[in-house]
């Protein structure tokens, strides 16, 4: 029988003290992982991406639970809790985005192609909802510009139109006429090419939860949240300003630009302040949601009161 003396134990075999102290956490994680494997519907697939500090706020991210249970995603209902309760039936694989219109190389990207297009980056952005609340969310994704450069927009292309999925089988909200489906959003080409504009595939280090717009959504952090279309199936480069879902619903209240602007109120409520989810007192809303240094020059000479 071989009895090892202490000196026989290789240093690499010794559990570091800090890991040893966290051994119960390891068991819990392992148990959790086993559970998640048993119920794949709630299993969160990991997604890796290096933090891009240049584009990330140092503010404390909103807890994962709040980010994934308090959502506006009208395809699943108008209640904040509808998306997490009803989105799980959405089938996000296979999925592809058709990029077409005024482009030199129209192409359909499978979600797997998108992930390989560029190394994914983690970007911690502020998110300001038009309703007056805000969050801080660690997204994972790639700049929209990376995708657009692949298809090469033609000179005549002035706008980018985003079209979301509208499947009445898996999206119960689409049966109601609360909005004109499918959900359509749009950006100017220069806004779409702005390095902050992100195609998000994940958040908090994992694949995008369905209620947050899986498998791929837009994130435009200096605009109100509804501009960031979810579950995108088509991107079109066009000459004319797209007629977005919210403009069709109420052009008087929701403009094409919808830049976060404390000086331009929603006709029915003030936009001067916001409640950061998790905080008690309201905070002042910043012009362009705090991204003025990066994006204000896009709107030089534009009357922001008129083009709200």
């Amino acid at each position: 029988m071989l009895i090892r003396r202490p000196s026989d134990i290789l240093p690499s075999e010794i559990t570091p003290r800090e890991l040893f102290l966290r051994r119960r956490d390891f068991l819990k994680t392992a148990a959790g992982a086993a559970l998640l494997t048993a119920f794949p519907a709630i299993a969160a697939e990991k997604l890796a991406g290096a933090r891009n500090s240049l584009f990330s706020t140092t503010e404390t991210p909103t807890p994962y639970k709040d980010v994934t249970t308090y959502n506006n995603f009208y395809e699943f209902g108008t209640d904040k809790s509808d998306p997490v309760e009803k989105a799980q039936r959405l089938n996000t694989r296979p999925w592809s985005i058709a990029v077409e219109g005024l482009v030199k190389h129209p192409r359909t990207f499978a979600i797997e192609d998108l992930i390989k297009l560029a190394p994914l980056e983690e970007r911690i952005y502020r998110m300001r909802c038009v309703e007056g609340w805000s969050m801080v969310i660690p997204w994972l994704g790639l700049p929209l510009a990376t995708l657009l450069k692949q298809v090469e927009p033609q000179g005549a292309a002035k706008y980018v139109e985003f079209i979301s999925a509208a499947d009445p089988q898996s999206m119960p909200g689409v049966k109601s006429r609360v909005l004109d489906w499918p959900y359509v959003e749009g950006l100017r080409v220069d806004e779409a090419m702005q390095p902050l504009t992100l195609l998000a595939l994940g958040l908090y280090g994992e694949v995008l939860p369905k209620q947050n717009g899986a498998p791929v959504r837009l994130v435009v952090p200096w605009k109100y949240g509804f501009k960031s279309a979810k579950s995108i199936v088509k991107i079109r480069l066009v000459e004319k300003e797209p007629n977005t879902a919210w403009m069709k619903a109420n052009a008087h209240e929701y403009g094409f630009y919808s830049n976060v602007n404390p000086a331009v109120d929603h006709p029915r409520w003030s936009q001067a302040t916001e409640r950061r989810i998790g905080e008690f007192q309201k905070r002042k809303t910043l012009p362009f949601n705090g991204y003025a240094a990066q994006v204000a020059q896009l709107y030089a000479g534009l009357d922001l009161q008129k083009f709200f």
């Binding site: 639970k65 709040d66 249970t69 308090y70 009208y74 108008t78 904040k80 809790s81 309703e131 609340w133 109601s176 609360v178 909005l179 619903a249 109420n250 109120d265 029915r268 409520w269 003030s270 001067a272 302040t273 409640r275 989810i277 998790g278 008690f280 007192q281 309201k282």
Partner: protein
């Protein structure tokens, strides 16, 4: 079937009703304590108190038609409590706006009341509720005299209408619930108009 509770049974019924009416508030307090009101608890509390104000206004308006249809005259003895609960939830709803939502930012509040139609309407409804709550005691009914008291308290019809408008104008897009409240109110007010018209005809026929 004529149901006539004894005074003792009625007293028990009142106590039970008093406790039942406290349940929405108890649920909110418990939820706030347990932090189980979701990601935006302030919004939840504010919305819930508003909804219950409307609920109690409509329940109060239901008493008189229910009495007429069932013949249970004692139902009227429960109406004051229901009306005062409507006022109580309205007061809490207003307090949640002033304190939790605006945190006593009086400048922003004044601007809101003047500039936001849905807040103007809600505030008006609350102010109109004040004289009703103040004249709810038996002593005040005697002081005003039954007829004048009744005329004053008919303003609850307008108040309820303002309450529904307040709700309708605040929702972003999905007006399903405001429409439902409007329909219920229309039934409750419509039935009164119908009965009054029938009464008027009967009297002119004599």
């Amino acid at each position: 079937m004529a149901v006539q509770p004894s005074p003792r049974q009625l007293a028990v019924l009142k106590i039970l009703l008093f406790l039942i009416c406290l349940l929405p508030l108890a649920r909110l307090s418990w939820g706030a304590w347990q932090d189980s009101l979701g990601a935006n608890p302030i919004e939840f509390i504010q919305r819930s108190l508003g909804t219950w104000t409307l609920n109690f206004l409509l329940i109060t308006l239901l008493v008189s038609p229910a009495r007429k249809l069932s013949g249970w005259h004692w139902l009227l003895r429960l109406r004051r409590m229901l009306g005062l609960y409507a006022f109580c939830y309205a007061l809490l709803h207003l307090a949640s706006y002033l304190w939790l939502d605006q945190f006593f930012d009086w400048q922003a509040i004044a601007k809101d009341i003047l500039k936001r139609p849905f807040i103007t309407v809600g505030m008006s409804a609350f102010i109109l509720l004040l004289p009703l709550a103040a004249t709810s005691s038996n002593a005040m009914v005697r002081r005003l005299g039954g007829r004048r008291w009744q005329q004053l308290h008919r303003s609850v019809y307008a108040i309820s209408l303002l309450g529904v408008v307040h709700y309708w104008w605040l929702v972003k897009r999905d007006i399903t619930l405001p429409v439902l409240y409007a329909a219920l109110l229309a039934v409750l007010l419509g039935i009164r108009a119908l009965w009054r018209e029938q009464e008027r005809r009967r009297q002119t026929n004599f």
